[in-house]
């Protein structure tokens, strides 16, 4: 058993009361240095995305052919692209798109999974069978392919891309939620709540779901990272978010033609995707250890 858990087991009830549950979670989380760095990076990225118009002196869309294809320098720390636009500004602006679209997508798939997973896990029977067979079908189509198909059918744009991202995500979240609910639904306290005459919705919302929250939060964080990667893949292939809206994937696609001579046009947006994915993965791992020490691998 990890140290943190042993320690909190020895704490007196009063101590727990004084600090609250959240304090111990935060303490466990802070012990994981990588996760703290990841969280800091994500916060900086969000701030950069929100305030990108004020942070750099350049405009993300304004073309300046006199300064085209510059290598990184003091004035343009990540260099400029083929239209003379500052790559750093465009990466920050692209973060807005990536973060927003992946958040929308993951929120949509979580909402769908909450409904489907609750029905499947709590009620079982025919509904469970039907939902889970449908999820089997969804899961057998590789994620990016399904996103590509949906994205091609719906067309481009942020909301449509978010929907394309959300559909493959539903299956995994539903499966996970269903298995956590199934483990919980026969517990004594659920039985007690039923004996008190609580309605199904009440029991699900107040007793079952709060106890399934930790794995869900972890999966949510990890999904944010993987959907940023998937969005960039879609945009790279010319689906998803289209230029002139900067998105990391379409920046890489645009820079691809200049790979020989100006590789910085590919490397920096690519590294941005990598760092974002890495940060969300590390944050997810850190949250897993902090929220539920028993799940620690």
């Amino acid at each position: 058993m990890p140290n943190g858990d042993v320690m909190s087991a020895y704490l007196s009830g009063e101590e727990v009361k004084r600090h609250g549950k959240f304090y111990f979670m935060a303490k466990r989380f802070c012990r994981n240095k990588a996760a703290v760095v990841a969280l800091t990076f994500i916060i900086l990225l969000i701030l950069g995305a929100v305030f990108c118009d004020y942070l750099t002196p350049y405009d993300y869309a304004e073309q300046n052919l006199a300064e085209a294809k510059q290598l990184p320098s003091a004035a343009h720390i990540f260099g400029t692209d083929d239209f003379g636009r500052d790559i750093f500004t465009r990466i920050l602006r692209g973060a807005r798109v990536s973060l927003l679209v992946s958040l929308m997508g993951v929120l949509m798939s979580t909402a769908a999974a909450l409904v489907l997973g609750s029905i499947a896990g709590y009620y079982g029977g025919k509904a469970d069978n039907l939902i889970m067979r449908f999820m089997d079908i969804l899961i057998s189509i590789p994620g990016l392919l399904l996103s590509m198909t949906v994205s091609a059918a719906l067309g481009t744009g942020m909301v449509k891309t978010a929907i394309a991202m959300a559909i493959p995500g539903v299956a995994q979240l539903t499966r996970q939620l269903r298995s956590s609910i199934m483990m919980l639904k026969d517990s004594e306290y659920i039985e007690a709540a039923k004996a008190f005459g609580g309605s199904d919705i009440h029991i699900l919302w107040n007793h079952v779901l709060p106890n399934c929250l930790s794995p869900l939060i972890v999966q949510f964080t990890l999904s944010l990272g993987s959907s940023i990667m998937c969005i960039s893949g879609l945009s790279f292939l010319g689906l998803g978010v289209q230029p002139p809206t900067p998105e990391w994937g379409n920046m890489v696609a645009a820079g691809q033609d200049y790979l020989r001579t100006y590789p910085h046009m590919v490397i920096f947006p690519g590294l941005a995707v990598m760092c974002a994915m890495l940060a969300f993965n590390l944050l997810g791992d850190g949250l897993r250890d902090a929220l539920d020490p028993r799940m620690k691998q």
Binding site: L145, M148, G225, L259, P263
Partner: protein, 327 residues
């Protein structure tokens, strides 16, 4: 055992039918009709309607999907590509070898390297080697596929000029795509192997084996690895399915005429019938890989084999995983 295999194969059929229905429905409600693209930029409404009629896209939903299934089942045909005017099935058949070669070699290579790295990491836990390999595998798992492909191309083709940049031209052309496809599976396999072995190596029977003087190599390879293999097999099987996805980006960048490139181009040209065929083939491969993974469980673990024999029932992967980990 054979009963179990037949049952699993039969269970694949509804899944594949579902895949066709889902992809067909998504394409049916597409914003841009293939006819609009085929008819060109200056087409009138009549031109588009004529194209639609020619492609059979003006028929009702049920008729279209019904005829797709009819042709698939009774004629083994997946329709004719809207753009290339060739049977989809033969287009897929000519492209499949490239994708499968890359996928299979990359899967085998990533399994071997990943398992070896994972074992070394677990055996020498908390050493500098463990630290480096864990860090590398975390980074590799976060690498976007296009960055890997372009990075490899930049280093080995553009600067060092060791390997060809694009296209398929002899065995050398396969090296970069295989590495690019295999990199993130290596990371995942190594991570899973490490944690799975660490779980097993703490067990009492490992201590017993060491106590009776079994050499460390035999302890690791025979006693530990065999018991830790179930979750590793799951990851290896999953990775092969993922390489199908990876092939879309990898083949687009390296310009390899495989299934991935066909899929990418058919999606962007709204050649929906080709897309549908490609997705169906991919889903089929994923299903077959899942079945093979489950059969490998039986090879590795006699308890699972007994379960398959006794009940013939499908056993959820999860419970097998847990059973394997608890062993």
């Amino acid at each position: 055992m054979i009963k179990y295999v037949i049952k699993r194969i039969l269970m694949m059929i509804p899944v594949l039918i579902g895949v066709v229905i889902i992809v067909f429905t998504i394409n049916y409600f597409s914003e841009v009709s293939p006819a609009v693209i085929l008819a060109g930029a200056n087409a009138t409404a009549e031109d588009i309607a004529a194209k639609n009629a020619e492609l059979g896209l003006d028929r009702p939903y049920l008729v279209q999907i019904g005829s797709y299934f009819y042709n698939l089942i009774f004629h083994g045909s997946m329709g004719t590509s809207y753009i290339y005017k060739q049977p989809v099935i033969s287009m897929i058949a000519t492209r499949m070898p490239y994708t499968l070669t890359i996928g299979i070699i990359a899967a085998a290579f990533s399994a071997v390297v990943g398992i070896v790295l994972g074992i070394l990491g677990a055996v020498k836990q908390n050493s500098i080697f463990d630290y480096i390999s864990t860090t590398l595998s975390i980074i590799c798992a976060a690498l976007p596929p296009f960055l890997v492909c372009l990075g490899l191309m930049l280093v080995f083709s553009v600067h060092l000029k060791w390997l060809p940049i694009q296209g398929i031209n002899g065995w050398k052309s396969y090296i970069l795509p295989i590495i690019a496809t295999g990199l993130s599976p290596i990371a995942m396999t190594a991570r899973m192997t490490r944690s799975s072995i660490l779980e097993v190596i703490r067990q009492d029977y490992i201590r017993a084996a060491r106590a009776k003087g079994v050499p460390e190599g035999v302890v690791v390879w025979k006693h530990t690895l065999k018991n830790a293999l179930i979750p590793i097999l799951t990851v290896v099987g999953m990775n092969f399915g993922l390489s199908m996805t990876g092939s879309v980006i990898c083949e687009t960048i390296f310009n390899i005429p495989g299934l991935g490139l066909l899929m990418a181009s058919s999606i962007s040209q709204r050649d929906f019938i080709t897309t549908q065929g490609c997705v169906l083939v991919c889903a089929f491969i994923v299903c077959v890989m899942n079945l093979l993974t489950d059969l490998c469980y039986a090879l590795v673990d006699p308890r699972i084999k007994a379960q398959y024999k006794n009940t013939g029932k499908s056993i959820k992967k999860r419970s097998i995983q847990k059973g394997g980990a608890a062993a």
